[in-house]
Structure formats: structure tokens, C-alpha cells
Symmetry: C2
Subunit: 335 residues, 2 copies
């Protein structure tokens, strides 16, 4: 049977308070008893119960992580970074794949609340973000990761989506592309990336065409169908900016389907710099997010908020970076 603090206290001939103190390194304990208790502890293989201590101490050392789908490489990579940062602070992470379904998210949220997690990271999408309001009201530490919902008063850690979109299009423009399509995922990030892209076009005096902007979901299939449709039009873009790597892969597949060579017939640029972008052929040009920095900041925010519940909500914006692959090339001046 598992031994408790009482067993240790008895065996060591001290009180449970003393044991508690040596376990937590609190209070003043003589070197001698400390060592003695310590030795009894491992003799009995004593493991303090995190549950009991959570019930008293008010800390579970656990964070909840809501994401769309852990099987999606972007989220998996983010989860890994977040886990590492959490571990550094002695926290563990409960993962929750919501498939972006509001109801599932809400269920998970309340589950996590019942489990008294010390904070939640929300990296999934909501159809109706106002549903979050009641949770935020409880002032549980929450960080929105990689989405910025301006209407919500909550800590937010994102990449600068607008600038990312801008850089992507800017790069294409510098490479001589005037006919540029965009395949975006629905949602705030996608919109910001589009707007950034549009601005880049405007700054270069390039017209963007509404029919060359497609809003879809975020699977490979979505990118595929979106691109297929866009490229099926009488006049087709010479380059496509896909708002994330999954979509970009779909676009790539569509190009192949249509017999278009990438990058000679069609340049493609993605977003996120996930593993995917590194293994497709040709290696994707993409915009990378500094995920580890973002993860670090996220965990720090959670920790700080737990200490200072009344701290002002803060929005941190990280800088995206262009990663040059081989899915883009300068356009040969034919047209």
C-alpha cells in the first residue's frame, strides 16, 4: 500500500508537520531531523500525494491546453514547446483536442476547471468567442495562443499575422509576381494574414482580385479544393500564398493534379514552417513563427498571472520570419 505522511512521521518519530516541512523545504528544520526524515522517506518509498496537497495548497501544477487537433503538426510542435516550458516550471499539461467545436471546447474547459488546473492555454478556434466570457470572468489564468481575438480581454500570445502576410506577398512581389492568389483559413489569423498580404500588394500597386482569395478551413483537402477551384479559372495566378502549411500542401497537390510545375508554373508560399514544409517536394517557402519563444512567454504569463491575479491582460506579438524554400521562384518576364 502507498505510504502517507503519517507513516513517515510515525516511522521517523516526528510529527506530520515536520515531515511536511522537510518535503516542502519550508520552516526551520534541523539538519539532523531533516536527514533522518529524508532517509525514512525513501525507505518507505514515500511519494507525497499531489492530490491532497492540491486540495490544501490550492495548486495542481497542471495546465490545460486546448487545441484543434494534436495530430496537426503545427499544434503538435507548439504542444511540444509548451510542454517543455511547462516542465521547466514543474508543471504538466493536459491536452485537449477540440476539433474547433464549441461544445467540445466548453466541455473541456469546465472539465479542466473541475480539475482545478492552474491555467489554460487556448489554441483552438471558437465559432462564438463570447462563449469564453464566463470563463474569463472567473479570472482563471488564460492565454490565447496564436490567435488574437480583440474583443476579448485576455492574455494573448501571437505572431504578427499581418506582418507575416505582408512579408509573404512582398517576397512574391519582389520575385516579379503580379498575379497572386491567396488561400486562407477562416478565422482571425487568416484574416490578418490576408490583410497584410493585401497591403503588400497595394504598396506595390498590384491589384488583388477577389476571385483569387479563397476562404476555407484548414486541412490539406481544403487547400487542395480551394486551389483547384482558383486555378481552374480562365486566368490563373502565378503564385499562391497559402495561409498555413497544411493548406500549402493541398495547393501543392492541386498543382500536381493540374500538371503545373512548382515553382516554374506556380510559386507557393506557406505559413508556420512546420515539419510538413520541410519534407514536401519542393521544400516550401514559408513564414515561420518563433514557437519556442511564444511558448516560453505563454507559460511565463500563466505563472505570473497566478501570482498576480489582478495583473493587466497583455498582448504579446512576435515577429514572423521568411524561410526561403524552393517552392517559389522569380517569374520569368513573359507576360
Amino acid at each position: 500500500m502507498k505510504s502517507t505522511i503519517y507513516d513517515v512521521a510515525n516511522a521517523a518519530g516526528v510529527s506530520i508537520a515536520t515531515v511536511s516541512k522537510v518535503v516542502n523545504r519550508t520552516g526551520n528544520i534541523s539538519q539532523k531531523t531533516r536527514e533522518h526524515v529524508l532517509s525514512v522517506m525513501d525507505e518507505l518509498q514515500y511519494q507525497p500525494s499531489a492530490v491532497a496537497s492540491a486540495l490544501t495548497g490550492k495548486k495542481t501544477s497542471t495546465f490545460g491546453l486546448l487545441l484543434s487537433n494534436i495530430a496537426n503538426p503545427f499544434f503538435a510542435e507548439a504542444a511540444r514547446s509548451l510542454e517543455d516550458e511547462a516542465r521547466a516550471a514543474d508543471y504538466s499539461i493536459v491536452m485537449c483536442s477540440t476539433d474547433n467545436e464549441d461544445e467540445r471546447s466548453l466541455n473541456y474547459l469546465s472539465l479542466l476547471q473541475r480539475k482545478q488546473v492552474d491555467g489554460m492555454i487556448i489554441a483552438c478556434h471558437f465559432t462564438d468567442w463570447s462563449l469564453l466570457q464566463p470563463f474569463l470572468a472567473t479570472n482563471i489564468p488564460v492565454v490565447l495562443f496564436s490567435k488574437d481575438i480583440s474583443s476579448l480581454d485576455v492574455h494573448t500570445v501571437t505572431v504578427d499575422d499581418y506582418k507575416g502576410g505582408y512579408k509573404a506577398i512582398e517576397y512574391l512581389v519582389h520575385n516579379g509576381h503580379h498575379h497572386i492568389g491567396i488561400v486562407a483559413e477562416a478565422g482571425p489569423s487568416g484574416e490578418h494574414r490576408i490583410r497584410g498580404g493585401q497591403q503588400a500588394m497595394k504598396d506595390a500597386d498590384i491589384q488583388y482580385r477577389p476571385e483569387w482569395i479563397t476562404n476555407v478551413h484548414s486541412s490539406i483537402r481544403d487547400g487542395y479544393t480551394g486551389a483547384l477551384q482558383m486555378l481552374g479559372q480562365s486566368e490563373r495566378p502565378s503564385a499562391i500564398f497559402a495561409c498555413n502549411d497544411m493548406l500549402a500542401v493541398g495547393v501543392l497537390q492541386a498543382a500536381e493534379e493540374l500538371g503545373l510545375q512548382v515553382p516554374s508554373d506556380l510559386s507557393i508560399i506557406g505559413f508556420d514552417d512546420t515539419l510538413l514544409s520541410q519534407i514536401v517536394q519542393p521544400r516550401l517557402t514559408t513564414i515561420s513563427q518563433p514557437i519556442s519563444d511564444m511558448a516560453h512567454h505563454t507559460i511565463q504569463l500563466l505563472l505570473r498571472h497566478a501570482d498576480t491575479p489582478d495583473m493587466a491582460k497583455q498582448k504579446a506579438i512576435f515577429q514572423p520570419k521568411l524561410i526561403k524554400g524552393r517552392s517559389t521562384q522569380a517569374i520569368t518576364p513573359t507576360s
Copy 2:
């Protein structure tokens, strides 16, 4: 402030025992009081504390999941399935990326133990599996997922690695390949896959060459260098069986590096049928594991073991399936 069972009891004019009973649907409560209590509960937004109930009830409704690295697509996909199955039983999952480092794994294991998880799924690798012994001795529900360590008396859920290797090589052989290389990851699964492959060669009266079998770790880079070395020899295989998709991607990259066309110059077959195999060019032929079935079985085992601590340890072996891609082709009879 969060309301407790006392608040509800007071507000409803009943005892906490009664509240507890309606929350847990236990005991006999009149329709009338039940409804009344229920209404008070949501009026007060009462959320039973999972922590407190765990301290008494002895269940946390949480499983621990140890895996090498959640950022690795195979594990991410497995994690997703496991999460779904766990959720169906009202359990959540704490993820732990160990990078296959024994010390980290051990730390996580004892952390999970302190958190009193109701079971652990081990899907990572140990250098020294005997380190697990002490944990198994506590008879905490444990399932080894996708590894079979015969020396350990523990529930095990795996794919038939031997047969998977056999099928892979058999397929190559049927396609006329006589010169077959293997790039394997160190560890039991890899070994079984190799052995199955070797048997398939033997059954077809094909010699396997020791210099065409490489044991590496399991990253893309490992597959790349392993293949580079193998293909750099004076006589090269016409086909390579990579023991997992990551390695296969590395092999693919090595082939490209060497200017070899896949599949015309070199056939490649992978293992796992992860997302990777679907997006590389050409689509990888691979051996798939029935991950959802395995995940289902894993969770059921954990659940059952919790009920019946003295149940015999069981080893479940699932059947692999060949997925035909375009990275393999029949050899043109030149040699």
C-alpha cells in the same frame, strides 16, 4: 468565489450528503429534492471539485501518456486516438514527451504517480527497461503501446511488427526486387520488423546482405544518413524498406540527393502510414497500423485493470496492412 458543496447544501436547505448523492446519482433521492438541488446547483454555478473527490473517491479520471516526442507525427496521431478513446470514458490525458531519455521518463513516471493518475500508457523507449520494474510492482495500470518488451510482465498493445516487416519485403519481392536494403530504428520494434523482412527474403530464396541493413535512430536525418551510406556502396539495393515513415522520408531525401529517381531507380517502403507518407512526393508505400483500434484496446485495458487489479497481463497484437503508394514499382528486368 467558487462555490462548494456546502454552499449548495445551505442554499438548498439540505445536507451535503444529499448534494453529493444527486451529483453522483448514487443513493436514493426523491425526484423533488433532486430537482431542487439541481436547480440550486446551476444557480450557484456549482462545479464539483475533482481534486477533493479524487482525494476521497480514489479516482482522478486522468491517464498519463509517455511518448518520445509529441511533435513526431506518429506519436501525435496515436495521442489523438488515445485522447478520443479516453474522452469517451470521461478521462483526460497528460502528455509527457521523454525524448526516450530514461531519466526524464522516470521523472515523469513518478510525477504521474504523485498526481495519482489512474493509469499510464508507455509509448516511449527505454534504454534500460528494467527501470520500469519498480513501477510495475506497484500494480498501477500500465499499458505498453506499440512496443513489446517480452521481459516485462505488463499489458501490451502492438502491431505485429514481424508480420509488418514480412509484408513489406514480400511486396518488394513480388515486384521483382532481389536487392533489398533495410533502414531500421534501434529497438524492439525495429528488430522485429527486420526479422520479419529477413524471413520474407529467406522464403523467397533471396540473400540479404548485412551491409544493407542499417540500424539508426528514428529521425529523418537518421534515415537520410543511413540511406546515403548504404546507397554509396559499389553495389546498391534496388529497394529499401525503412522501418518507419520518418526514416523513409530521410531515405527519399537521400535518393534525391544522389539523383536517384523514386521509384524508377529506387523503390522505398515505409511503416506507420502517418501523415508524412501521404504528403511526400511520391506518396509512400507503407505499412499501416490500426491506430484507433489499438488506442481503443489500450484504454479499455487500463479501465479494466483499474477494476480488476489482479487480472492477468495481456498482450494484444494487431494486424498491419500494406498501403500501396507510388514510391515502389516493379523492377524492370535489366539485371
